[in-house]
C-alpha cells in the first residue's frame, strides 16, 4: 500500500499538471489533444495509485503514463497528422539548403565548432533553448521529430502508427534535424564572429 492517503496523492499529482501539459502540447501541437492526453494521464494515475512505487519519482511515473497517452492520441488522430505532414513549407527548406551550400556543393561557410560532442549541456538554459527550437519546428515536423527523439519510437513504428511512407517520414525528419541544428547554432553555440 502507498503510505500517503488518497487526498494527498491527488494533490501531489495535480502539482505536475502544468509540466505535463507543456510537453503534451510540444509533442501533439494541438491544445485539445494535449489537454485530453493530460487528463487521461491524471485519471489513470488516480485510478491505480498502487502502481506508483516509491522507488521511482512521481513525475517520472507520470511522464511514463503521459507518453503512452500521447502515442494513443497520435494514433487516433493519424489522419490529421498524416495530412498536415504534406502541406508544410518545403520551399523554405530548399532556401535553407541554398544558404548553407554553394552551387558546387561545398559549404558556404565552415560549420561552427560546437566543442566536444560529449559535453554536458545539462543546464536549464540549454534545455530552454532546445525546447524553444523544437517548438518552432513546423507542427508536422515537430511531431515526427519528437516521436523519434522523445517517445523513442522507431521509424518503422511511426510509419505504421501514422500510415506514412518511409520516404515521407525521412524527408520530414531530415528537415526537422536541419532546422534544429540551425536554431541551436544561432541561439546557443554561436560565437562572436570577426567581421
Amino acid at each position: 500500500m502507498h503510505p500517503t492517503d488518497s487526498d494527498t496523492f491527488e494533490q501531489q499529482i495535480a502539482l505536475h499538471r502544468d509540466y505535463l501539459l507543456r510537453f503534451a502540447r510540444l509533442q501533439l501541437r494541438n491544445d485539445t489533444w494535449a489537454e485530453d492526453a493530460v487528463s487521461e494521464t491524471l485519471l489513470a494515475a488516480l485510478a491505480r495509485p498502487q502502481a506508483f512505487e516509491r522507488r521511482s519519482q512521481l513525475k517520472t511515473w507520470l511522464v511514463g503514463i503521459l507518453k503512452h497517452k500521447v502515442v494513443d492520441a497520435l494514433r487516433q488522430q493519424n489522419r490529421e497528422v498524416r495530412l498536415s505532414s504534406n502541406d508544410d513549407d518545403a520551399s523554405a527548406d530548399d532556401l535553407m539548403d541554398q544558404a548553407m551550400f554553394k552551387p558546387d556543393g561545398h559549404f558556404a561557410e565552415q560549420p561552427a565548432n560546437w566543442g566536444n560532442p560529449e559535453q554536458e549541456l545539462g543546464s536549464r538554459q540549454f534545455f530552454a533553448v532546445l525546447e524553444a527550437c523544437a517548438s518552432k519546428l513546423p507542427a508536422s515536423q515537430g511531431r515526427l521529430f519528437l516521436m523519434r527523439e522523445w517517445l523513442e519510437l522507431s521509424s518503422e513504428e511511426i510509419c505504421k502508427d501514422l500510415g506514412l511512407t518511409p520516404t515521407n517520414l525521412y524527408v520530414q525528419l531530415h528537415r526537422a534535424r536541419q532546422r534544429l541544428r540551425e536554431c541551436l547554432d544561432l541561439n546557443w553555440f554561436a560565437r562572436p564572429k570577426a567581421l
Binding site: G105, F107, R177
Partner: protein
C-alpha cells in the same frame, strides 16, 4: 554540380547522408562514400560533430524531461 564517380560526394550530399543516418541505416555504398569523404574533407567532420552533439543533447533532454525538476 554532381561528381561523376559514385563514391565521390559533395559536402551537400555528405551532409544529407549524415542527417539521414540519424534515422535509418545507410546502404553500404553510401556508408563507404561518406567514410571516404569524411577522411578528405575539413568541413564535414565538423558537421558530423554537430550532429553527434545533438544526439547527445537529445539524450540528456529525455532524462531531463522524464525526471529532474
Amino acid at each position: 554540380m554532381k561528381p561523376t564517380y559514385p563514391l565521390r560526394l559533395t559536402c551537400q550530399q555528405a551532409a544529407a547522408l549524415m542527417l539521414a543516418r540519424e534515422d535509418r541505416a545507410l546502404p553500404l555504398t553510401d556508408r563507404t562514400a561518406l567514410h571516404l569523404h569524411l577522411v578528405i574533407c575539413k568541413a564535414c567532420p565538423r558537421f558530423e560533430r554537430q550532429l553527434l552533439t545533438m544526439r547527445h543533447a537529445m539524450k540528456q533532454w529525455r532524462g531531463y524531461v522524464d525526471g529532474a525538476d
